[in-house]
């Protein structure tokens, strides 16, 4: 009887491990990373996976072993062990050291994500910021869409004031974030109504949009997925499977699940500028004929 239970637990644990083993082959792995800091995050993920996997195997292995080995037998008494100070210190200290290691090993990644500089020896000490942006975009969340606003010339004179008030010559696009490869992008994230959360899985990036605040998001994509064709005026995907999602990750009402967009990384700044010029021209035509709201020409819109 006890062997059946031991086998059941062994089988469930092994299938959990097995599922992880086949996951990459099934496409059930971390989505493609396109962020400059993303590889660091993925390394952290693997580091923790290894550490937790180790403790998972040890604890579950011991559990299954105990189930097989120490079942009650007629005439066999339990061993009386009160405790073992050495053992207790070991299994307090080893996890503590591993946790401390992960705790401090993660801080450079975090600093990279937040574009801050930290002390090498005491990594939670602040040394300065290092944001130099090539492109500013204001993203306004509202029930249930993302409204992107792009400045002419990519960098407004006073980014904070621009994020608050905008400019008459801005380009407005719904649910599409256009940037170019290797650009240092700064997003000014706002919301018109409730809390939203701007989530881009491929960039490993997520930021809540909070009423009354302008939240910064900084990233640099290291891979492109589109090219703009000025002749046909459509965005051509570089690779059929390179659709990069934007999703709202904070419940924001009935159509929360529809608050999705797409991230387009142009292959070069020039390519982005071609798209920008055409999109702005298109917007002006619509403005002059009083047609609103304006959606730029492209192939991917909100489903």
């Amino acid at each position: 009887m006890h062997r059946c239970w031991g086998l059941l637990f062994a089988a469930v644990n092994l299938s959990a491990i097995g599922l992880f083993a086949i996951a990459p082959a099934m496409g059930w792995w971390l989505p493609k990373n396109i962020a400059s800091y993303g590889a660091d995050i993925d390394h952290l993920f693997y580091l923790i996976l290894v550490a937790t996997g180790f403790f998972f195997v040890i604890t579950q292995g011991t559990l299954v072993y105990c189930m097989f080995r120490f079942n009650a037998k007629e005439g066999v008494k339990a061993k009386h062990i009160h405790g073992n100070t050495k053992l207790e210190i070991i299994w307090t200290a080893i996890p503590a050291i591993i946790l401390l290691y992960i705790g401090f090993a993660q801080t450079p990644t975090w600093a990279k994500m937040k574009y801050i500089e930290i002390d090498t020896w005491f990594p939670i000490r602040y040394k300065g910021t290092n944001i130099e942006s090539d492109l500013h975009v204001t993203v306004l969340g509202r029930q249930w869409e993302w409204r992107m606003r792009y400045p002419q010339g990519h960098i407004p004179a006073d980014p904070q004031a621009w994020a608050d008030l905008g400019n008459l010559h801005d380009l407005h696009v719904v649910n599409e974030l256009h940037v170019w490869k290797n650009a240092n992008v700064k997003i000014h994230l706002k919301t018109q109504d409730v809390i939203h959360s701007f989530f881009m899985p491929n960039l490993r990036l997520k930021q809540d949009a909070l009423p009354g605040k302008v939240m910064p998001m900084v990233f640099s994509p290291i891979e492109a997925n589109v090219r703009y064709n000025p002749k046909t005026r459509i965005l051509e995907e570089l690779n059929p499977s390179s659709t990069w999602e934007i999703a709202c990750a904070e419940l924001c009402g009935g159509n929360h699940y529809r608050m999705r967009g797409k991230l387009f990384v142009h292959e070069s700044k020039q390519d982005y500028e071609l798209w920008f010029a055409d999109a702005l021209k298109n917007q002006r035509i619509h403005e002059s004929t009083r047609l609103a709201p304006v959606v730029a020409s492209s192939n991917g819109v909100n489903p």
Binding site: H2, W5, L8, F9, V12, W28, L30, I41, L44, F45, A51, T52, F55, F56, T59, L63, C66, M67, F70, N71, A72, K73, G75, K77, A78, H80, I81, G83, N84, E88, W91, T92, P95, L100, I102, Q106, T107, T109, W110, I116, Y126, Q143, V194, I195, S197, R204, K206, Q207, D208, P216, E245, A247, A249, E250, L251, C252, G253, H256, Y257, R258
Partner: protein, 509 residues
């Protein structure tokens, strides 16, 4: 002496150390309705909670079923989007505030705290009854909110969605939660004072059963961790009893409960890494969150060491405790992905976190609760349940649970946000797994309803200590206990789990 004949129980008979003086017990000394509704007896109040929270659990479970059914296909087809939002909101509220928080403290805690410390009742029996009626009133108000049309904000009620933009019954629900909050605060207060003031002679702090330590830590700290802490206490009791061994590292387990409670106070900002809090504050909170893993790890290692070299009998409560160990370990370990800043930004508000907290709160807390209910059922009702059905339900629950929630880890790191009514087609395979698992889980959770109810009315009589437990509720009271618990106030002369030297008491067949 009652004979317990069970299919596979290794130790068929433990001697009835207390005996049965007469047949008067807390269940049958007065059958009138008023004697139940106005009872001041902590044991009866525990049973009132048991019935009420079981009904709430069924409702919360039915809602979970509706959610999983909706997510079977990528497109919305079973519920509307608004109804879906209301369903998961109601599921969260009911399961958290009306089931998980009161589950072990209010049902098992009420029943066991006085019995385990050799007291006649809790310190304030009237306050205890008030707690129950506050819980009841809170439930009625919350159910009213659901009947009026429900709430669609998620159980977290983030403003300004809940305050300005939602057209659902937020205020009514908030009132219900406000009322039910006082119920757990007063119960906690009652337990703190009971444990401090009403321990029987000789029962020093370090002779307290570990269940009491857990309940005490829970009562002091009314936080998210109150949902898992009591389960840790139940697991310590069950593992010690069914391994016939004293708990390995009693002191360190007791202190680790306190440590989890204390750390639980200072980790709250780990829910806020994506909100835009100061990156330095985030680093500190991340490190503090890591520290919770240390006492949790100590507990798991100590339980395994308790089993090691033990004489383990595979009875239903122990199977549930095994399940607890398996699921709590996965839940705890996956927490490290979420306390790490870089990975949390990606995983926050995805299905990864849904899977993580279900492993802790359903896998951990409910498995612990089921282990406890099965372990103390003979004491609570004086009846034995069917071991066959009990073990079957424990096994089905364990399998069904893993089937349901393991795929959700993968969905999470693939980037599927939680609370989505529709999802992209490529996520369907894993969602189908999850829904299939949920139907297995539903069977596992429903079975005890039937065999436990059957056992309550028709089960074989249990003796005072069918599992050979070593704590006062087993060694000094009848099953079920008399209205005043103990014939004489017990005097404790030794530490709990003192199994060595007592093994001679086992009657072989």
């Amino acid at each position: 002496m009652a004979t317990v004949s069970l299919e596979s129980k290794t130790f068929d008979k433990f001697p009835d150390v207390v005996g049965r003086h007469d047949d008067t017990n807390y269940l049958n000394h007065d059958h009138s309705i008023t004697s139940w509704l106005f009872t001041l007896d902590h044991k009866r109040i525990g049973l009132l909670y048991l019935v009420t929270i079981t009904l709430m659990f069924l409702l919360g479970g039915a809602l979970a079923g509706a959610i999983r059914l909706e997510l079977l296909t990528p497109k919305g087809d079973f519920l509307t989007a608004d109804t879906y939002n209301k369903a998961f909101t109601a599921h969260g509220i009911i399961m958290l505030f009306f089931f998980l928080i009161p589950s072990i403290p209010a049902v098992l805690g009420n029943f066991l705290v006085p019995l385990m410390i050799g007291a006649k009742d809790v310190a304030f029996p009237r306050l205890n009854l008030l707690s129950y009626y506050l819980y009841f009133a809170g439930s009625v108000i919350a159910l009213t909110a659901l009947l009026l049309g429900g709430v669609d904000t998620g159980w977290t009620f983030y403003t300004p969605f809940s305050s300005t933009y939602s057209n659902s019954y937020v205020i009514v629900m908030a009132v219900g939660l406000f009322v039910v909050g006082f119920s757990s605060i007063l119960t906690g207060l009652n337990f703190i004072i009971t444990v401090h003031r009403m321990r029987c002679p000789g029962l020093t702090w370090f002779r307290l059963p570990l269940f009491i330590w857990s309940i005490y830590a829970t009562s002091v700290v009314q936080l998210v961790y109150i949902m898992i802490l009591p389960s840790l206490g139940v697991t310590s009791e069950v593992i010690a009893t069914f391994s016939r061994k004293n708990v390995f590292g009693y002191h360190i387990i007791a202190f680790s409960s306190i440590a989890i409670a204390v750390f639980g106070f200072i980790v709250w900002a780990h829910h806020m890494f994506t909100t835009g809090i100061s990156p330095y504050a985030a680093m500190v909170f991340s490190l503090l969150t890591f520290s919770v893993a240390i006492p949790s790890g100590i507990k798991v290692f100590s339980w395994l060491a308790t089993m090691y070299g033990g004489s383990i009998s595979f009875d239903t409560p122990m199977i549930y405790a095994f399940g607890f160990l398996g699921l709590f370990t996965i839940g705890g370990l996956t927490g490290l992905f979420l306390s790490t800043l870089g990975t949390d930004i990606h995983l926050h508000d995805t299905y990864f976190i849904v899977a993580h907290f279900h492993y802790i709160m359903v896998g951990g807390a409910i498995m612990g609760y089921m282990a406890g209910i099965h372990y103390w059922w003979p004491k609570i009702t004086g009846k034995m349940y069917s071991e066959f059905w009990g073990k079957l339900s424990a096994g089905i629950t364990f399998i069904g649970f893993n089937f349901t929630f393991f795929p959700q880890f993968i969905l999470g790191y693939l980037g599927m946000p939680r609370r989505y009514y529709e999802y992209p087609d490529e996520f369907q395979v894993l969602n189908v797994f999850s829904t299939a698992g949920a139907s297995i889980l539903a069977i596992g959770y429903s079975m005890p309803l039937f065999y436990m109810t059957y056992s309550f009315f028709f089960g074989e009589k249990a003796n005072s200590n069918p599992y050979g437990g070593s704590t006062l509720e087993w060694t000094n009271t009848t099953s079920p206990p008399s209205p005043h618990n103990f014939e004489q106030t017990p005097v404790v002369t030794e530490e709990p789990y003192h199994y060595h030297g007592k093994e001679a008491a086992v009657v072989s067949h």
